[in-house]
């Protein structure tokens, strides 16, 4: 677990004397301590140029291959022209930023899959405030970009490809933020890492317009309050986003798609309070939203579609609200773990709600029950879903509705929307409405063939 590793390094760091982390000069730090200057063979060919630069200078690096690891311990701007490749020593971080105000821009970095995971070997390791990392492509590093106590730092337009095929426990995050306040991560793409964006003990950050796919958690907050994330895309992860032990997060217009593994979740909340989620798209996940031990959260105007289970809700949650969301074509609307819930579902749209709206007020005339007779089977028996879409199941559901014999926990939406909110209708209109030529021709052909058969049958043979 990243969380545990992070906590462990925190403890070790605290035990080693607290205050400013020591920078040993031999370049081989103990686990949890900062890497210092590389030595011997590991020193980058660029090190001398950087060491000769005056504070505030811009060091331009022409295209080419540069071996070894580099320390930036004075405020310089390091700019690659024509995408020079920095090939690390394979023993630690390739670029180590140790001075505030440094900018690193326009490089390709290869970490050669090397280093000791406990020492956070990264493509770019930042341990100074106000650093900018821009337009850098990193592959083969255990961590992509690591911000360690780097307040006000920015990572933008970077691309991190982790180490494909390696177990998540044996590699680090794409972009890792630890104890860094007011950070900003924009337009980055991370694949094949452990977590895409991992943020721990860091408040008031912004994560915007990023993408994470094919990894464990797309975005993962731990103990980080007052953060905002928006317009991101998380797909093919174990959990699109995992929010843990954090308060007052605000997020909107994110997309959580195709998180389809056996226990995968689009959006996971564990012990998170008072967050606000708006206008997110949570589609084609094994489970849409997973809520455990979380209080006073608000979900508004989100789209949750094509999930096996739209919402998984533990009775350790309280005072949450799901209002005005759109639920479409989920196998099951709710899985309630426990005996009770005070979570409020109100004014949502449910595509399997067949209650009419006779008075035309936009709301169905009767409440929508978020439990079907099938949930009763499903709770005890996964394989029951094999029958979930059979005529028998439909018959059973109709019978149960007419003669209720089961008495499930009553979770209802008292005033469900009769049609989905206009915002989703509008966005979908611009979406996948495309004519399939082959299918259309085939269909018309089939109709013609059927008609021809009947017509031919009428003639004397």
């Amino acid at each position: 677990m990243t969380a545990e590793a992070g906590m462990l390094s925190l403890l070790i760091w605290a035990a080693s004397g607290g205050a400013a982390p020591a920078v040993p000069s031999d370049g081989v730090p103990a686990s949890g301590q900062l890497e210092g200057r590389p030595v011997g063979e590991a020193v980058s060919e660029l090190q001398a140029r950087v060491d000769a630069a005056a504070p505030g200078a811009t060091v331009e690096v022409p295209a080419g291959l540069y071996r070894g690891d580099l320390v930036l311990d004075r405020p310089v701007t390091l700019v690659g022209r024509g995408r020079p490749l920095l090939l690390g020593s394979g023993e630690g971080s390739v670029v180590r930023v140790r001075a505030a105000g440094v900018t690193v821009q326009g490089f390709d970095i290869d970490g050669r899959a090397g280093g000791d995971l406990g020492r956070d070997p990264s493509g770019v390791h930042v341990a100074a405030h106000g650093v900018t990392v821009r337009d850098v492509r990193i592959r083969g590093s255990l961590f992509g970009i690591y911000l360690r106590e780097a307040d006000d730092s920015v990572v933008e337009g970077c691309e991190v490809v982790g180490i494909p095929g390696r177990d998540p426990g044996e590699k680090g995050s794409g972009i890792h933020v630890w104890n860094t306040h007011r950070f900003r991560l924009e337009r980055n793409v991370v694949t094949e890492a452990r977590d895409g964006f991992y943020i721990q003990s860091s408040d008031h950050g912004l994560v915007r317009g990023n993408e994470a796919r094919n990894l464990r958690y797309g975005l993962h907050y731990m103990f980080s309050d007052d953060n905002v994330f928006e317009d991101n895309l998380f797909e093919n992860c174990d959990a699109g986003t995992a929010l843990m032990y954090s308060k007052r997060l605000v997020f909107h217009h994110n997309r959580f798609l195709h998180n389809r593994g056996f226990a995968s979740v689009g959006l996971l909340l564990k012990a998170c309070d008072e967050l606000v989620a708006e206008a997110n798209v949570i589609v084609d996940n094994a489970r849409g939203i997973f809520l455990e031990g979380s209080y006073r959260n608000i979900f508004r105007d989100n789209l949750i579609a094509d999930s096996d289970i739209a919402v998984v809700l533990y009775d350790s949650c309280g005072d949450n609200q799901l209002v005005g969301n759109t639920f479409i074509a989920n196998l099951s609307p709710l899985s309630l773990v426990g005996k009770r819930t005070d979570t409020r579902f109100e004014g949502n749209y449910w595509s399997d709600n067949l209650e009419p709206d006779l008075d035309g007020d936009g709301r169905s005339d009767r409440p929508y029950r978020l439990s079907s007779v099938f949930d009763h089977f499903r709770g005890n028996l996964t394989a029951a879903d094999l029958m979930a879409l059979s005529p028998a199941a439909t018959a059973l559901a109709a019978a149960e509705q007419a003669f209720p014999v089961l008495d499930p926990v009553a979770v209802v939406d008292p005033s469900p929307l009769a049609r989905p909110p206009a915002s989703w209708r509008a966005s979908a209109a611009a979406g996948p409405g495309r004519v399939d030529g082959a299918g259309m021709a085939g269909s018309l052909g089939a109709v013609a063939l059927g008609c021809l058969a009947f017509w031919a049958g009428r003639r004397p043979w």
Partner: protein, 302 residues
């Protein structure tokens, strides 16, 4: 009257045809029987009513998927297929088993004339089955075509393959239940027509509705490991469930039944195993009733 005239027409043609043709090509009487049954079935009001009704229902299901999703497009393909699959599972076996038992039960006059022809009884029966199958398949084309027109105005790329899978599944169900009808009707006398029809309806009801309910009910009383296996085996054994599972898994992958799909695939050791299991089950249910029918018609005393 009209029917017997019809029957004599093609068969008379055989006899007037080149001598020895029957002996050289055993397929010819089979195809002749098939053609005659096909013409009869296409002219039958029942087939026409089925074709039109099925088309109307398919069209309704395909459009309501769109309407229910409020035009959001998310329900478009996968859940529309699921609803169409339900429709097919309900209607197609019913039509096949009812029309099969009506057509294959002997009628006074017609059957006597038919069986007096110099054609082996099994050939006659197989030919009739083939003709009925083609007629019903053609009638279903109307429905699938109509639904397809609605679906493909806005479907994505993956739609066509799974739609074809659904059509194939529907045809397979038609063949299966025609076989069941043949097993019920073969070698009976005209007096038992009503009994055959009643039996056909009972079999339809048992296999499409009661079977699943019984399996679920039984499973809910067992421990979950045993119950899981029971449900998976139940799905493999009943051809209606087998077709449904094959179409759903084939068109939607493991999304179709959520975690249950994975349990199913683990039981069958992967998707190849699943395919073999399902194909085996369906092949058995296709062959066994027709085998019974052939045996009965060979032995019966007309």
């Amino acid at each position: 009257m009209i029917e017997s005239a019809l029957i004599s027409e093609p068969l008379a043609a055989t006899q007037e045809g080149p001598r020895g043709g029957d002996l050289e090509s055993p397929a010819q009487p089979l195809l002749l029987c098939a053609r005659q049954e096909l013409v009869l079935a296409l002219r039958s009001r029942w087939t026409q009513i089925f074709g039109v009704t099925f088309a109307a229902l398919s069209l309704a299901v395909a459009s309501s998927g769109y309407i229910l999703s409020g035009g959001t497009g998310f329900q478009d393909y996968s859940r529309t297929t699921a609803s169409l699959v339900q429709l097919v599972l309900l209607v197609v076996p019913l039509a096949a088993v009812v029309m099969g038992s009506l057509a294959l039960s002997p009628e006074r006059g017609a059957s006597e004339l038919l069986y007096s022809q110099p054609v082996a009884r099994p050939t006659l029966l197989l030919g009739q089955l083939l003709g009925l199958f083609v007629a019903l398949a053609a009638a279903q084309l109307l429905g699938f075509g109509a639904a397809g027109v609605v679906i493909f105005t806005r479907a994505g790329d993956e739609g066509l393959g799974s739609f074809l899978l659904l059509v194939g599944g529907s045809w397979l169900l038609t063949a299966l239940f025609l076989g069941v009808a043949a097993a019920l009707a073969a070698g009976t006398t005209e007096s038992s027509r009503t009994r055959v029809l009643a039996l056909a309806l009972v079999i339809w009801f048992l296999s499409v509705i009661v079977y699943d309910l019984a399996a679920l009910g039984l499973a809910s009383m067992l421990r979950s490991g045993v119950a899981s296996r029971l449900l998976i085996v139940a799905v493999l054994v009943n051809p209606v469930d087998a077709v449904r599972t094959a179409v759903m898994l084939g068109s939607e992958g493991t999304t179709a039944f959520g975690a249950a799909s994975l349990a199913f695939l683990r039981f069958t050791h992967g998707s190849l195993g699943a395919g073999l299991w399902l194909a085996g089950s369906l092949a058995f249910w296709l062959a066994a009733p027709i085998g019974v029918a052939l045996m009965r018609i060979r032995r019966c005393d007309l």
